[in-house]
């Protein structure tokens, strides 16, 4: 299993516990008191470490190689998912997965960014960095959801929109901009959840929702800490400072009023208990869906527009 530097002490303890358990079975010796002590120690350690994560550690957690991705949430939160492909202009845009699914009695259009678990899938999904086709596919399917009066659920998890020659040639900017405009005026409910890494415009292109939710250990930022450190500090090593300065954690963004709700993760992060995380998230989504489905389309659009309209702090 892959783990992060700050997870290491916990993992070591857990391995030790596992070892003792196996030995107590094979040797028939009673290690229970010691196991109990180690368990308590591990829990304490986990609380200590995860109780005071720095924004940079949070960023690493959001990018954890074991972190549940869109596909995992689709598997664990919905049923009957049927993937729909293609932007009808150029390609499929496989960094984004999309299609109808059932979620607790609602038919929803699920659209999410997929990073890829193993090397092969990572390359196929372009590490979750979308080309314009992905955004245009998302747009096509969001309009389709509107046509059939189905709510939209978007799952945000990307380092950013792909910076490449083809992406620029095919109008990455136009694709993102169009999504922002259209999402602001769609006449069906939109719930957007940052499940991992909310990477700038590439994430926002799926993120104009009636509700904007974030998983506890996800991050959402105008620029990556690496990019920010390189530009503003002129020193790529200043990532910790940059991560702190950007206020990119879920709680920070909630306190700035940019996020409606922070969804709790199991102790140690979503990857420790993906199914528990998914069912918590499913319940939160259902609650918001139940609220939003009661609102008329006119009110929905004007409320969403107002919500976006009021974002920003300035003097006057």
């Amino acid at each position: 299993m892959d783990y992060l530097d700050f997870e290491e002490p916990i993992i070591k303890l857990e391995n030790r516990i596992e070892e003792l358990r196996e030995r107590s079975q094979s040797d028939g010796k009673d290690f229970l008191p010691e196991i109990r002590k180690l368990r308590q120690k591990a829990n304490r350690l986990r609380r200590d470490i995860f109780g005071k994560l720095s924004p940079w550690q949070r960023t690493k957690l959001a990018r954890h190689p074991m972190r549940p991705y869109t596909k995992d949430y689709i598997d664990n939160m919905t049923s009957g998912f049927m993937e729909l492909h293609g932007d009808r202009f150029y390609g499929d845009g496989v960094s984004i997965i999309s299609g109808f699914a059932n979620l607790d009695g609602h038919v929803v259009m699920v659209i999410g960014q997929q990073k890829g678990r193993d090397t092969k899938e990572k390359i196929k999904r372009n590490f979750g960095m979308s080309h314009p086709e992905g955004y245009r596919k998302a747009l096509r399917l969001m309009k389709m959801a509107e046509k059939f009066n189905r709510p939209i659920l978007t799952l945000l998890d990307t380092p950013g929109a792909y910076p490449g020659v083809g992406a620029e040639e095919r109008g990455q900017s136009e694709a993102i901009a169009k999504n922002l405009l259209v999402m602001s005026s769609l006449r069906v409910p939109i719930i957007s959840v940052v499940i991992g890494e909310g990477g700038s415009g590439g994430a926002l292109a799926l993120g104009v929702g009636d509700r904007i939710l974030m998983l506890e250990n996800s991050v959402y930022s105008v620029i990556s800490p690496e990019g920010c450190a390189a530009i503003l500090w002129n020193n790529p090593e200043k990532v910790e400072e940059a991560a702190s300065a950007l206020r990119l954690t879920a709680m920070d963004l909630f306190s700035h009023g940019l996020v409606d709700e922070v969804v709790k993760e199991p102790s140690g992060g979503a990857h420790r208990k993906p199914i528990t995380t998914a069912s918590t998230l499913r319940r939160v989504i259902r609650r918001h869906l139940n609220e939003l489905m009661k609102i008329s389309s006119d009110d929905l659009v004007s409320t969403r527009r107002n919500k976006i309209r009021n974002m920003g702090y300035f003097y006057e």
């Binding site: 929109a161 910076p163 490449g164 020659v165 992406a167 620029e168 040639e169 095919r170 109008g171 990455q172 900017s173 136009e174 993102i176 901009a177 169009k178 922002l180 405009l181 259209v182 602001s184 005026s185 700038s200 415009g201 926002l204 292109a205 993120g207 104009v208 959402y220 930022s221 105008v222 620029i223 920010c228 530009i231 503003l232 500090w233 002129n234 200043k238 400072e241 940059a242 300065a245 950007l246 206020r247 990119l248 963004l253 700035h256 940019l258 527009r305 976006i308 309209r309 974002m311 920003g312 702090y313 300035f314 003097y315 006057e316």
Partner: protein, 284 residues
């Protein structure tokens, strides 16, 4: 339509700031020839020898596009706060202070109402010298209000972009200005009011990926760099040098992402003619 009526409005004077540095002579960034400085100012930054378009200030741009003595500045008192108390090697507050001193502006965009060839318009022009024309909450707010004034007064909206993208020092608040400005344009479009997007070198990141790319008609100045990701970032990602002219205005024209490339001195008449196509009175 309401906005077509010819009205003269008194000038609310805005601080006129020339971008071209003082001095009798200067060197053209295109042909490297030495040009008489005053000549460059008089020609709105266009080299008399090679017609290279030098960057001009927002106030020069307004002088270029808006009829004399008709510009009425709005929201000049909307300025950046520092909600994150952001500090890199310098405090954001200090960066704001020096940008204000350098440009004589309170924020990175000048917005207001005026006449363009006698047609009433709402206009906002970004100032690159103000922190790279970056869009934070105040810039986003002023642009949004410009669009909203268009909706209220049933007037066409003109936005002149010149920006490095979203302003990092306001974190996600800056990113959300992309959504805010784009959503406002959605309302303008519903009212069937025209929006002309004018691009001047450079336009990148969060500004390109929001209002700059949403014009009914998108006009670029020659050779302007227009991109989502900057050429340096892309060269780094793909590990090779980029083709000549990549991400320049003419490249975008070739690829179908701008309507036309128009030299600076023809911009005003081009816009006027487009406005007539959109909303001018038609003789049957």
């Amino acid at each position: 339509m309401g906005w077509f009526t010819k009205v003269k409005k008194p000038l609310e004077s805005i601080a006129f700031k020339k971008r071209i540095p003082e001095g009798v002579w200067c060197k053209c960034k295109g042909c490297k020839e030495i040009i008489y400085h005053n000549e460059l100012v008089e020609s709105f930054g266009i080299c008399p020898k090679c017609s290279h378009h030098h960057r001009i200030s927002a106030s020069e741009r307004i002088r270029l596009l808006i009829d004399d003595a008709t510009f009425e500045e709005k929201d000049a008192n909307v300025t950046s706060a520092d909600p994150l108390k952001f500090r890199d090697t310098k405090k954001y507050k200090e960066r704001l202070g020096s940008a204000q001193k350098k440009t004589g502006l309170s924020e990175g965009v000048i917005s207001g109402s005026g006449l363009l060839e006698s047609r009433q318009v709402e206009i906002a022009v970004m100032e690159f010298d103000f922190m790279g024309g970056s869009m934070g909450s105040a810039v986003g707010e002023k642009i949004t209000r410009t669009i909203e004034r268009g909706v209220e007064g049933e007037k066409p909206v003109i936005l002149v972009s010149c920006s490095g993208g979203a302003r990092m020092q306001e974190g996600l608040l800056s990113l959300m200005q992309m959504a805010k400005t784009s959503a406002a344009l959605g309302v303008l479009a519903e009212k069937k009011l025209p929006y002309l997007s004018i691009l001047s070198d450079p336009v990148s990141g969060g500004v390109t990926a929001s209002f700059a790319m949403l014009g009914d008609v998108i006009i670029s100045e020659p050779n302007a760099l227009i991109c989502f990701a900057g050429p340096r970032v892309i060269a780094q990602t793909i590990g090779e040098t980029l083709p000549e002219g990549f991400q320049r205005a003419e490249f975008l024209l070739d690829h179908g992402f701008v309507d036309m490339v128009v030299p600076r001195l023809q911009l005003k008449l081009t816009v006027a003619q487009l406005l007539d196509f959109f909303c001018g009175e038609v003789a049957y």
